[in-house]
Amino acid sequence: MTTVPLVPVRRWISRRQSAHRERGATAGNIYFAVLFLAVVGGMVHRQLAVVFWPTHPNASGLAAAGLVPVLFGLLYLALRRFGPLALSRPAASWLLPAPVSRRRLLLPSLRLTAIVAALTGTLLGLAIVGHAAPRTLGGETIALLGTGAGLAGVGLLLVALAAQAGGRWGDRLDALVSLLLAAGLAGLIADATTDEPLAAGGWPTATTLVPLVGAVALVVGSFFALAVRGLARTPNERILDAAKTAGTLFDSAFGMEPSFLTDMIERRYWARRKLRSVRFPARLPVLVGQDLLLVLRRRSRVLWLLLAAGLPVLLASAPHALIGIAVLIGALLAAGIPAGNVKTDAGNPVLLRLLGLSSRQAMLQRIWVPGVLAALWSTAALTVLSVLGDLPAGPWWALGITLGPVGAVAAVRRARVGFVRNELLPLDTPMGTVSTGPLVNAVIGPDALLLGLPALIEIAQGHPLSWLTVLVQAVVGGVGARAYLAGTTDPDRVVLNNR
């Protein structure tokens, strides 16, 4: 097959595209981006310093060892989720099937991803060094460690690239990386609960690092060259998938509509699953049975949430109000596992009409499983905190149970929110115009967590928990859930129209 040179094609496309742009638009965009970074950087440079380079090292060896799999695991999983090799949607439709050199077509994408992976790796590495290494460490050593971390980022990209082109082993590797990430989180939690000494010594010197980093650079460099040579072998459907992801990501960003992305991830998840029909549990109301089935089919999510019940411990040294907020947000996330069903009904009531149930009946049934999940999560999180002594005495497990309805109302309200309303009036602020639609949309759902205010105040104050507070929280949560159902559903209406 003859191959058409790609460079003239790309140049032709870019010339046509720029014909539609104003003169100097690109330069203007770059100018604004740089100005934006400078302004934001100037505003938050102190916070950035705390994150990347605190005045004194404050992490133990265990914490540093935990951070490595957590941060680099997240980098790897993000690379896997977005490709890592992607094309823009127009290029995927028009250039992928064209007789152009496949390697040249994909090379810019690989170059860009490699730069991003290297920069991210370097930043992550520097942050870990900044928290764990003594300030006596020389500049050379720090630079070498940063370079090594950047190379590790590129290395992860190459593994993700091979997994994108390869077979089922990629999925197994993802599971393994998730496990490592979980182990890292467990390490961080263990570190927060014990008094580990700060990591002081044991850092390699520049003389030992130079050959090591050199060797890693050689290995990564040669594998990168191999990857470039094998680039043309990446299967088409993987690139098309990644192109769709990239396109949806941009749609979500420009339309400020995160549901585009979450819906796509959800659709892909189910398309890959192989299901076997089961009978609905006969004793349960039909929609409760359906929610339960959905939760059982997302067991891995439940497992992750159970592990995450230990995460509020990491906030033990922060103000206690933050622990309370973390517990409430966790309850919302736990209750959101079966939210896809409510979301379907809220988006299109066709199935509700077919089921012939009133909106009151439907929501009454749909709120149970989220409530139980939120109660389980809050109970687990508060019990862990109380057992580790981060909370004063009291029946915290009971308070956790009373947070069930709070999480359930918040998750169900979130699932019913629908699309961002971009017709809402924009707000003029000194920093520029802010469109209110996405802001309002983001708040609907989490705002119902205010029903957990009694628990939040109790956790923030740090007084021993009394049964009276548990009772107050139970009443507020129960009455709030009842009022929510009464106000947003109707026994004489089928659709969940909450507008």
């Binding site: 398309a271 299901l275 089961v278 359906q290 199935l351 012939g356």
Partner: protein
């Protein structure tokens, strides 16, 4: 729903989109226990008529009665009426068979006695019972919609081109199921482009032009 009223009575129905009138003084009666199939070219207002009867669209003027009552979004209405005039959606993580069972159980039917497996088999979905609906072809999705619509109890079916996207065997099978539905006392209002299919389903064929008092 009382069955001594006609299943559907439409009188003096007017609907226009902007300045374009689509339905002008339309009248229609579907006696209970019978079927009516409305035919006519694209854009003549068949779907609009069905949407109005299903209470999914507000007409500009005119009266619509379904079993003697005004159609509305109440659970009682939707327990008596099934419509396929809207594009379907599906629940996440629920298989084809589970969708059918969900619909049956929501109407208090025993899933073993409702004949789910027979219905899936008759419409050629038995081999896809464990698939999720988005994995099905468009014709198979149409079959699943009709399976769910026909499995659950109802008094009136409002179907918009049920033969759409079906192959010849599928059309014959669906027409047979609709004829059975009418024999069991159900009422049917549908729009179709296929006269053979409409006749096989036992519905009386009427053209959209004949329903309008004003010649177009």
């Amino acid at each position: 729903m009382v069955s001594d009223h006609p299943a559907v009575e439409v009188d003096g129905l007017h609907v226009s989109y902007g300045s374009t009138p689509v339905l002008v003084d339309v009248a229609l009666v579907v006696p209970a226990g019978t079927g009516v199939c409305v035919t006519g070219e694209n854009g003549i207002g068949k779907s609009t008529l069905l949407r109005c009867v299903s209470s999914l669209q507000e007409p500009d003027a005119g009266e619509i009665r379904v079993f003697g009552g005004s159609p509305g979004g109440t659970p009682e209405f939707w327990r008596a009426v099934v419509t396929t005039v809207e594009p379907p959606t599906w629940y996440p993580g629920l298989t084809v068979r589970e969708h059918a069972e969900l619909v049956c159980r929501a109407h208090g039917q025993d899933p073993d006695e409702a004949g789910i497996d027979e219905a899936l088999d008759r419409l050629g979905l038995a081999g896809h019972a464990d698939a999720i609906p988005p994995q099905l072809s468009s014709g198979q999705k149409q079959r699943l919609t009709l399976t769910c619509a026909l499995l659950r109890p109802s008094s009136l079916l409002i179907l918009d081109e049920p033969e759409q996207r079906l192959d010849r065997e599928g059309r014959a099978e669906v027409a047979g199921l609709l004829a059975e539905y009418l024999r069991d006392g159900g009422s049917l209002l549908m729009a179709s482009h296929d006269d053979v299919f409409a006749a096989a389903s036992g519905a009386a064929i009427t053209t959209m032009e004949s329903l309008s008092a004003v010649p177009r």
